[in-house]
C-alpha cells in the first residue's frame, strides 16, 4: 500500500506536524496559540476577581470568588503550554 502508518500522505515538508508537534517545524504549533489565549484570559479574569473582592458582583455564589481560582487555573495551564510550545530560534 502507498500509505503505511507513520508515513506522510501529502507534501508539506517538516512544517507538518507543526500543527501539533513543536519539535518538527517552522510553523508555530497550535498549542502555543492556545497557551497564549488561556494565559491572557486567565490573567484578565484573575485581576477582575481580585477587584471583585471589594466590589462583589450580584451573582449567585459570588462568595466563592470563582474568577480568582478559575482565572488562576487558566493562567497556569496557559503558562505551561506557552512554556512548552513557545517558538524556538
Amino acid at each position: 500500500m502507498e500509505d503505511q502508518p507513520g508515513n506522510k500522505a501529502g507534501g508539506g515538508g517538516d512544517r507538518n506536524a507543526a500543527a501539533g508537534d513543536s519539535s518538527k517545524g517552522h510553523m508555530i504549533p497550535v498549542w502555543f496559540f492556545i497557551g497564549l489565549t488561556l494565559l491572557t484570559y486567565g490573567i484578565m479574569i484573575l485581576v477582575t476577581g481580585i477587584h471583585e473582592l471589594s466590589h462583589p458582583p450580584a451573582t449567585v455564589l459570588a462568595e466563592l470568588h470563582a474568577p480568582i481560582w478559575w482565572g488562576a487555573i487558566m493562567a497556569v495551564i496557559g503558562a505551561i503550554y506557552v512554556s512548552i510550545f513557545r517558538p524556538r530560534c
Binding site: Q4, P5, G6, A9, D21, T40, T59, V60, L61, P67
Partner: protein, 594 residues
C-alpha cells in the same frame, strides 16, 4: 470591531447599488434602545476586551497561516498534515456550534437527560465505526471529500447528486445558523442583528479565505479550549449550589413532581413514558444505527477534518480521540439544562408559545451563565458562544469551498486548470459562499418558518448517504446505477415522509409509529426508513446491473483493498485498543444513567 459597516458599504458599491450615506449604514449596525432594555445581561469593559482579543487572535492566526497555504492540498486539506489530536479536536469542535450548545441545553431542559442520547448512543458508536471501519477507505483512496469518494466508487451521477445537495444545504444551513446566532446575541446582549451577522461571518470569511483548512482547523482547536473554559463553570457552580447530583435530582422532583428527567433508558419502554414520545427501538436503530452514522461518517463538514490527518493511523485515531471529548460534552451542555430545571425560579416555555417577559427553552444556557458569572467570566462565556458559532461556520465554509471546487467546478465546469487556479477558486468561493449565507440569513429573518424547513432539508440527505457510502465500502457488487438510484430513492422517500407529516400531522403515527412522537423522534424514524429504502434500492438495482471489475475497486472496497498493517506497534498505540476503551466508557455511562 467596526469593519462590518465598512464592508457592507464596500459591498453595496461593488454591486453598483446607489450610494447610501455612511451615517445610515452605521445606524443599521447600532443596537436599538428596545433591544437594550430587554436584554438578559450587560457586559462590562473587561468582557468587551476579552471578546475583542478573541477576534484579533483568530484573524491573526489566519494572517499568520496564509504563507503556509500555497497548494490546493494545503488550502483544501491542510496539507494532510494534522496529528491525530489536532484532527480529533477539530472534528468535535466543528460540530460544537452555538446552536448545538444552546439548542441541546434547551432540549435538556425540555426533555431531561434523554437529550444526552444525541451525544452518546447518537455519536460514540458512529465515531468508533468511522475510525475503525470507514476511515481507512477514505484515506487510502486519497479522496479530497465524501462526494469525491462517491465519484471513484459509483461514478459522476451519484457524486454530482451528493455534491450539489451538500453544497446547497451547507450554505443554507450556514445562513440559518448565522441568523440564529444573531438572534441569540440580540436577546442576550441587546446587540444589533446586522452587527452580529456581519462581524462574525466576515471574520470567519477572512481567516478561512487566508489560511484555508489550515486556518479553520487551527482556530477550531483554539475555539474548542475556549468553549470548555467558558462553559465549564456553569455545571461546576450549579452542582455546588444544588449540593451535587442527588441534590439536583431532588430539586427537579420538587419543582416538577411526577416527571422523570434524569433517567436515559428507564422511560424508554413505551412512547407515553417520556416527554419525547419515543421508545428504545427508535433511539437504538433510528438514531444510533442510521441518523448518527449518517452524520458522523458521511457529513463532509466533520469528515474533512479527519481526512486532513497526516497518516492512516492518525486518521483512524482522530475520531476515536474525538469520541472521548464528545462523551464529555453533556457535562457543559446537558447538565446546565437539567440544572436550569433545578435552580431557576421561573419556568421556561417553547419559543412558539412565549408570553411577554417569559424565556424560551433555548435561553437556559445564557440564563445560567448570567446567574453565576460576573464580569470577566461573562465575557469568557460569551466568547465561548461566539467561538462555537465561528467553529461551526468555518466548518461549513471550508467544506463548501472544497466540494464546490473539487466536486462541482472541476468535474463539470473546468476540468483542467493549474493548481493555483483551483486555490484561487477556493478562496473566492469561501467569500461568495459567505455572502450567500448572509443573504440566506436575511431571508430567514423575514420568513422565520423557512428555518425549520432548511434544517429538515439537510436531514433528508444524511441517512440515505450513509447507506450509499457504506454499501460502496463493504459490498463489491454495488454498482454505479445502484448507488445513484439508491441515494435518490432514499432522499425522495425522506422528502415524501416529511411532506406527508407537514400536510397531515396525524400521519406522524405512520412514520414514527406513535401519535405522541415529537419532532426529534420523527426525525429518527424518518432516517431509519429512508436508510432502509436506500439500501434496498441499491441492492436490487445493483443485482440487476453490471458490476465494476474488481481491479477498479482496489483502495475503495473491503475485500479488494489491502489494508495497511500496524506492524509491531504496542497495544496502547493502536486505534483498536482506544476504540475498545471508548466503547467501554460509553457502556459505563449508559449503566450509570440508566
Amino acid at each position: 470591531m467596526t469593519y462590518a459597516p465598512a464592508a457592507a458599504a464596500f459591498l453595496l458599491r461593488s454591486l453598483g447599488l446607489p450610494r447610501i450615506p455612511s451615517s445610515i449604514i452605521v445606524a443599521a449596525f447600532l443596537p436599538s434602545p428596545a433591544d437594550q432594555a430587554t436584554r438578559i445581561m450587560a457586559l462590562h469593559p473587561v468582557d468587551f476586551a476579552i471578546i475583542v482579543i478573541y477576534f484579533a487572535m483568530v484573524l491573526g492566526i489566519g494572517f499568520y497561516l496564509k504563507k503556509y497555504t500555497k497548494s490546493g492540498e494545503d488550502f483544501f486539506l491542510a496539507g494532510r498534515e494534522m496529528t491525530a489530536w489536532v484532527a480529533g479536536l477539530s472534528f468535535v469542535s466543528a460540530n460544537l456550534g452555538t446552536l448545538e450548545l444552546l439548542g441541546w441545553a434547551g432540549n435538556a431542559y425540555q426533555y431531561g437527560i434523554l437529550a444526552a442520547h444525541w451525544y452518546w448512543v447518537g455519536a460514540i458508536p458512529a465515531m468508533i465505526f468511522l475510525g475503525i471501519v470507514m476511515m481507512p477507505f477514505y484515506y487510502i483512496s486519497k479522496t479530497h471529500s465524501v462526494p469525491g469518494y462517491l465519484e471513484m466508487r459509483y461514478g459522476r451521477a451519484a457524486s454530482g447528486l451528493s455534491a450539489i445537495s451538500f453544497a446547497v444545504m451547507t450554505i443554507l444551513m450556514s445562513g440559518v445558523n448565522m441568523f440564529s446566532m444573531a438572534l441569540i446575541m440580540k436577546v442576550m446582549l441587546g446587540w444589533n442583528l446586522n452587527f452580529s451577522i456581519w462581524m462574525s461571518s466576515l471574520t470567519v470569511g477572512i481567516y478561512v479565505a487566508l489560511g484555508g483548512l489550515f486556518s479553520a482547523i487551527f482556530n477550531e482547536v483554539v475555539q474548542f479550549f475556549l468553549i470548555w473554559f467558558g462553559a465549564l463553570l456553569i455545571p461546576i457552580l450549579g452542582l455546588i449550589e444544588t449540593g451535587g447530583w442527588s441534590g439536583m435530582v431532588a430539586r427537579i422532583h420538587q419543582n416538577f413532581p411526577g416527571q422523570d428527567f434524569t433517567h436515559m433508558w428507564r422511560p424508554m419502554a413505551h412512547f407515553a413514558d417520556n416527554p419525547m414520545g419515543v421508545q428504545w427501538v427508535g433511539i437504538v436503530f433510528g438514531l444510533g444505527a442510521v441518523l448518527s452514522m449518517g452524520y458522523w461518517t458521511t457529513d463532509f463538514l466533520v469528515v474533512q477534518r479527519v481526512i486532513a490527518a497526516k497518516d492512516v493511523r492518525a486518521a483512524k485515531l482522530a475520531p476515536i480521540i474525538g469520541s472521548f471529548f464528545k462523551m464529555a460534552v453533556p457535562f457543559i451542555v446537558i447538565l446546565p439544562g437539567l440544572l436550569g430545571r433545578a435552580v431557576l425560579p421561573f419556568h421556561l416555555a417553547p419559543a412558539s408559545s412565549l408570553q411577554p417577559g417569559q424565556h424560551s427553552f433555548d435561553e437556559v444556557l445564557p440564563l445560567m451563565l448570567a446567574r453565576y458569572c460576573g464580569p470577566g467570566l461573562l465575557g469568557l462565556g460569551i466568547t465561548a458562544l461566539i467561538a462555537g458559532f465561528m467553529s461551526g461556520m468555518a466548518g461549513n465554509v471550508s467544506a463548501f469551498a472544497t466540494v464546490w471546487t473539487y466536486d462541482i467546478y472541476r468535474p463539470f465546469i473546468r476540468k483542467t486548470a493549474p493548481d493555483p487556479h483551483y486555490v484561487a477558486m477556493g478562496r473566492w468561493c469561501t467569500i461568495i459562499g459567505l455572502l450567500v449565507s448572509i443573504a440566506a440569513a436575511y431571508i430567514v429573518t423575514h420568513f422565520g418558518s423557512l428555518m425549520d424547513y432548511v434544517q429538515a432539508l439537510f436531514s433528508f440527505f444524511i441517512a440515505p448517504l450513509f447507506g450509499t457510502v457504506l454499501l460502496g465500502m463493504l459490498w463489491k457488487r454495488a454498482t454505479a446505477a445502484g448507488g445513484f438510484w439508491g441515494l435518490l430513492a432514499g432522499t425522495l422517500s425522506s422528502v415524501a415522509m416529511f411532506t406527508l407529516v407537514e400536510l397531515d400531522p396525524s400521519k406522524v403515527s405512520l412514520v414514527a409509529l406513535s401519535p405522541l412522537a415529537k419532532p426529534l423522534a420523527v426525525d429518527m424514524w424518518r432516517a431509519l426508513w429512508s436508510g432502509i429504502i436506500c439500501v434496498l434500492v441499491t441492492v436490487i438495482v445493483s443485482l440487476l446491473t453490471k458490476p465494476k471489475p474488481e481491479a477498479e475497486l482496489a483502495g475503495l472496497v473491503y475485500g479488494a483493498t489491502q489494508l495497511p498493517s500496524e506492524g509491531n506497534l504496542p497495544l496502547v498505540q493502536r486505534p483498536i485498543f482506544w476504540a475498545g476503551v471508548a466503547a467501554a466508557a460509553f457502556l459505563v455511562l449508559q449503566y450509570i444513567f440508566w
